[in-house]
Symmetry: C2
DNA sequence: CTGCATCCGCCTCGATACTG
DNA sequence: CAGTATCGAGGCGGATGCAG
């Protein structure tokens, strides 16, 4: 005789599959362990996104699956659905407190995965937003003591900024009010920088990477975002 | 026309499902994101395990799935298969360098998941080994400066130890040579301690938790393994 | 056009049985 | 003890439908 461990599957109240272990890792994976879930969180770490933005930023996800993940994440209190004020009026998804608390875990997993970028797969896509995650990985809090600067990155048509404030760093999409430094490059160059297969020196020397701003700020940036070698 | 992105699926050389993104998080999840994989790593973080130990420590996993996960993890260089020297002679699985590098990510995810233990699910199982993971989470490096002690935990029939060495902590299964402190309790008590629904004071007062050793070491332990509140 | 819902084929998962 | 073989159920991926 087969005993169903799940409820009769009332539509909308599906009791998610669970490891049924009293363990914080297992419980975390009950919530985040399904396919695409952590990648949705990754994309939302840069700021609120519309449904369409998420679809574009998650190439390969099915539109149905994205909808389901967002619904689950919202129900779990990780993601919040919000209407932008007029005249925009569009709905955006953003991380709730619980979701923002995932940053350390996302960073830790990404840092572990850094080695894989040395062995690139043939047909892998790249988005500048994912490269900004690498910036978050390379950030060294102890080297940022006393530093209070904002760095802006313009990669092709996309803009991001990093706000460093004395040991803390925040990476967000969009321009910053008064950046101390503005970098400009194309997506290909940024890809190399993020994967550390292209050194900043070479990129600056070849002109594929340009910067505008104080030279002292550039020195700070290079000091603060250094690989742990 | 439908283009198959995968190879003809030759047995043994299956090209694993991939997000196909040039992103360290996506690549990490290509390797670790499938069901049970990180839980296998969690169990191996406490030391080498036989196949049977892993099956017991991962209730709910199918034996076929465990075999497949171990094979994949070994091929990825995360897990190593090793024969114990005679007279034991049994095969054990242990983490390779790459696998040991996963500890920060596992800790980070577990720490995020700690809040879930306040809302226990009805039929969730518990193993002392999972509680030792909580110990690793509660460890505060800055409070362990200058501390160089070993704490042993005897939970029902299982034994673990924690070696603290000036800002670093290592949690392993089995007894320690010369522990500075030995705790003894049953699984139920330990579960409450790990979930922080039972305070050490109450446990010691009620006698469900006993300790043997130096009182100064007990003070150190309490200082070093404190919640971040 | 955005923001989903529905449908369908395939592949992974989970449970059990079985073998060296 | 240490796995392999088998098979049904369900999650996933891709295409398409549809309402605001």
């Amino acid at each position: 005789m087969i005993v169903k461990s799940k409820q009769p599957n009332v539509k909308g109240t599906v009791p998610r599959r669970s490891y049924r272990q009293f363990c914080s890792l297992a419980r975390a994976l009950d919530i985040l362990g399904e396919r695409w879930t952590l990648l949705v969180v990754r994309n939302l770490l840069l700021g609120p996104q519309r449904y369409k933005d998420l679809l574009d930023g998650l190439p390969g996800i099915g539109t149905n699956l994205l909808a389901r993940r967002l619904k689950d994440l919202e129900q779990q209190g990780i993601v919040r659905r919000r209407q932008l004020p007029p005249p925009a009026g569009s709905t955006v998804y953003e991380l709730a407190e619980l979701g923002r608390g995932l940053e350390p875990a996302v960073i830790a997993l990404s840092r572990w995965g850094l080695w894989t970028l040395q062995h690139p797969r043939p047909r892998n896509l790249f988005r500048p937003a994912w490269g900004m995650l690498a910036m978050r990985i390379l950030f060294r809090p102890e080297a940022a003591r006393g530093v209070r600067e904002t760095y802006q990155w313009q990669i092709d048509e996309e803009v991001f900024h990093i706000r460093v404030d004395d040991g803390a760093a925040e990476v967000q999409q969009g321009p910053a009010p008064h950046p101390d430094l503005v970098f400009t490059c194309d997506s290909e160059t940024f890809r190399g920088l993020a994967a550390r297969t292209l050194s900043p020196e070479d990129a600056l020397a070849s002109g594929s990477l340009k910067f505008e701003g104080d030279v002292a700020a550039l020195a700070h940036f290079r000091e603060v975002f250094q690989p742990p070698d």
